[in-house]
């Protein structure tokens, strides 16, 4: 019961904060603009766990500006987070990687302006879990997968670590961009606390028993299923289903293109050297063939750049939106479960009411056997039922609130997510187009200058009377 209360209390708090968050946000911005006293001074960059640590790197402005393009208000960003410097740590039990999280902020709820901590993947998992727990119907950006089975060999492979680092960077920045999530206590803790503090903080929260109870309820609710889902959520669910399918296919296509391009590059690398070899046998043609070999090699380098750009900028984003789709499905399920819980309680109330109002007297008869006065028994029963009904009504009111909050929170966040998704994907595809345009332009220049040099040679020869 306590947990339920605290949950609903949090939910309403969430609701009200959310309702306020939007307008408040802009007001906050204004405050900052006018604040002349704001100073940015470097805070002590303390070690977290005492193991190997390289000297803090000054964060350049360019690295603060996130590589990931955001749709909303880049000018009014007041918190900048960078994830970099992966390092491996070896203990007796295990080896793992930590990442440096650098935060620069002007927000008043932060005690200082700069923070630097080290976090491992587990810590990110914890943060995500907490946020999902507290805001079940908000859309939280996905984390990179634990293990990518296909294509990657080890957890400690350089490419894997780099891909993961970038994804973790995006994850934190997406949260920082979220008007509600970025104000979360646990998020703040994640960014600022030392290792020991974080470990002890992690241990807080609802007890294991209550969490088990929660899970059981959730499973029961999902089994029960929601009965009267509002049309708009069904529509969103359908959209998410289709979106998910399309993203999966897009992800596959893009990865396949990347693979084909890499293989094309490998074959092209063999092409130039053959022309070079040939030039050795030829007298008149030697120079032309050498030039040809050089052109092809230059084009190879451009292809390599193109391949890398697509791998780094396009592939990961599409993959992330595949994960996003899964997140969305989970959020919708949770919303459904909240509603199902409410519906179940309603059903229970109806049952109890019909119990009270019915004249069924099997229980009185039974009570009679036990030597109880049937009238008394009936009255006792009635009283008991009334009490239960009152309790149920209270619970239902709270659950109704919870459903309301969950739904409105979700709807606002859904719109927000849609916009963000559009912005991200548009930027990604524009990036892809730009990469390819740039590639072809560079190759065009290479071949055009080759052509000019060859034609010059020809005209020189013709001039010499080599008709």
């Amino acid at each position: 019961m306590d947990t339920l209360n605290s949950e609903t209390a949090t939910d309403s708090a969430v609701c009200s904060t959310f309702a306020k968050a939007a307008p408040d946000f802009s007001r906050q911005m204004l405050d900052l603009d006018e604040d002349e006293d704001l100073e940015v001074f470097s805070k002590d960059t303390t070690l977290t766990d005492g193991s190997s640590f390289n000297a803090s790197m000054p964060t350049s402005p360019s690295s603060m500006i996130n590589q990931y393009k955001f749709e909303e208000e880049p000018d009014t960003k007041d918190i900048f987070i960078t994830v970099d410097c992966p390092e491996s740590h070896v203990t007796a039990i295990e080896t793992f990687i930590t990442y440096k999280i650098s935060t620069k902020t002007t927000r008043s709820e932060f005690d200082s302006c700069e923070y630097e901590v080290r976090r491992r993947y587990q810590d990110f998992l914890w943060l995500k879990g907490k946020l999902e727990e507290k805001y079940p119907t908000l859309i939280i950006h996905p984390l990179p997968e634990k293990f990518i089975v296909k294509g990657m060999m080890e957890r400690f492979n350089e490419d894997f670590i780099e891909t993961r680092r970038k994804a973790l960077h995006r994850f934190l920045n997406k949260i920082a961009d979220h008007p509600l999530l970025s104000c979360d206590e646990d998020f703040k803790f994640f960014l600022t606390a030392q290792a020991e503090e974080l470990t002890s903080h992690k241990k807080q929260g609802p007890s294991i028993l209550s969490r088990v109870g929660e899970t059981v309820r959730a499973v029961a609710a999902s089994v029960r299923g929601v009965k009267n889902r509002p049309e708009e959520f069904t529509a969103i669910g359908d959209y998410v289903e289709t979106f998910s399918q399309k993203m999966i296919v897009l992800d596959k296509i893009t990865q396949r293109i990347s693979k084909e391009q890499k293989e094309y590059l490998e074959e092209m690398k063999e092409y130039g050297p053959v022309y070079m070899l040939w030039s050795g046998s030829e007298v008149e043609l030697g120079d032309s063939l050498k030039d040809m070999a050089n052109c092809i090699d230059k084009c190879c380098r451009e292809t390599e750049e193109q391949v890398n750009a697509l791998s780094e900028n396009v592939v990961p984003v599409l993959h992330e939106y595949v994960l996003c789709a899964e997140t969305l499905k989970a959020v919708l399920r949770r919303r459904d479960n909240i509603q199902a819980e409410y519906e179940a309680k309603n059903d229970a109330l109806a049952n109890k009411k019909s119990d009270r109002d019915s004249d069924s007297d099997l229980s009185f008869v039974f009570g009679g056997f036990l030597g109880k006065n049937p009238e008394e028994a009936k009255q006792q029963k009635q009283q008991k039922l009334d009490g239960e009904i009152e309790e149920l009504k209270e619970d239902i009111e709270k659950l109704e609130d919870k459903v309301e909050c969950a739904n409105s929170a979700f709807k606002v966040d859904w719109e927000r997510w849609l916009k963000s998704m559009q912005g991200d994907l548009k930027a990604t595809f524009l990036n892809m187009a730009d990469t390819n345009i740039n590639y072809y332009e560079k190759c065009l220049a290479i071949w055009e200058s080759f052509l000019i040099s060859q034609k010059n040679e020809l005209s020189v020869e013709n001039g010499r009377g080599y008709s």
Binding site: F243, L250, I253, Y440
Partner: protein
Amino acid sequence: KKSPPPPPLPKLGKVGSKCACGLGSRERMADSGSDEVAVIGNTDLTAAEEQNNRNNTDVEKSTPLLKKMEISVSEAEKRTGKNAVNMQETYTVYLIETRPVDTITEGQNPAPDSLWRRYSEFELLRNYLLVTYPYIVVPPLPEKRAEFVWHKLSADNMDPDFVERRRIGLENFLLRVASHTVLSKDKIFFLFMTQENGWKDMVYETGFQAKADSRLKALNATFRVKNPDKRFTELKHYSDELQSVISQLLRVRARVADRLYGVYKVHGNYGRVFSEWSAIEREMGDGLQSAGHHMDAYAASVDDILEEEEHYADQLKEYLFYSEAVRAVCRKHELTQYELEMAVQDLTSKKLQREELATGTVRTFSLKGMTSKLFGQETPEQREAKLKVLEEQILEGEESVKSKNSECDEYVKNAWLDIDRFKEQKNQDLKEAIISYAVMQISMCKKGIQVWTNAKECFSKM
């Protein structure tokens, strides 16, 4: 554009071009080497014919056939028929069209003469030319079977793309021969293009097959020749290198083409997915849908790109096969040189024998010498007879050496003239091929820029 003809070759023979039948016209005996014409068959020329010959020689000395006649291989068709072992087979025939140039320039437009030939007849013609003009680098035919294919092209000889490329290759062959100062004058070649029936018999009747050097003979000579002209050795080495490098190039090119095809075609999938996705999107729908069309266009563009590249590959292939023709010329030199060396060796040994017989000394070991020592000497009369025979043989040998010597010189001179011509042609052709490759790449890049710029515009409307 053909390179201008080299300075007129020494008189190779006169043409009785007005004579319709193949027999009786002049025929160049490849291994006679003499300046005189060896005419088979009809040796009686009338005064008019002699004058005709002189005229024709003067005119035709420096005018390749191509200048007087328009030639093309314009069509290909499937035929079925019974083959040599009486089995039903399907084969392709090609239409050769010819038209005298002057009729066109005079403003008329007569229908061309035409006949159908199949690939095996082209092969026959080429073999004839190889044997008849061994000192000429004879233009190659397009490949018999598709090689260096990448997965999209089939290796099937009946495939229409293959047939089309072969048609072009055959036309190229005819044009090359027709623009060659020496080869274009050949009667059999002329009749190949103008006389459908009975041509095959005529070719066989030239007896060229008997003149062909056996592979074994040529191989033997290559191994045993002691003093070949250094230039030919170098040239043979070069042709080996050329063959090797072009083969490598064609192999890599085929693999690159394969990969490029894959990259472009996978983009086609974007078109479908974008279209499906656009159905559920409000604002992004239009942008996605139109971008998808451009992705389809991008995927489709690779077909044209690779077809053009195939043309470049064919140009390279021609010189791959040319390298074989060059090697053949070198081999023939080795053979003539070897035969000369053999003749010299034979003469020397016969002279030695004469000396021994005359002086009675035995300097070389011979079975005759041994047996005569064991079983008694010969009578002076026997020796006299032997000497006489030897003297005759020596005279013959000296004649043979003299003629083989001049044959060899003649061959070297003529061959080297054609090799120089070939080198210049090769340099020009390959340079043009390289330039056309660059032009293709430029066109491909421009198309790519176009498509992706269009797609970008669509994306920006998302």
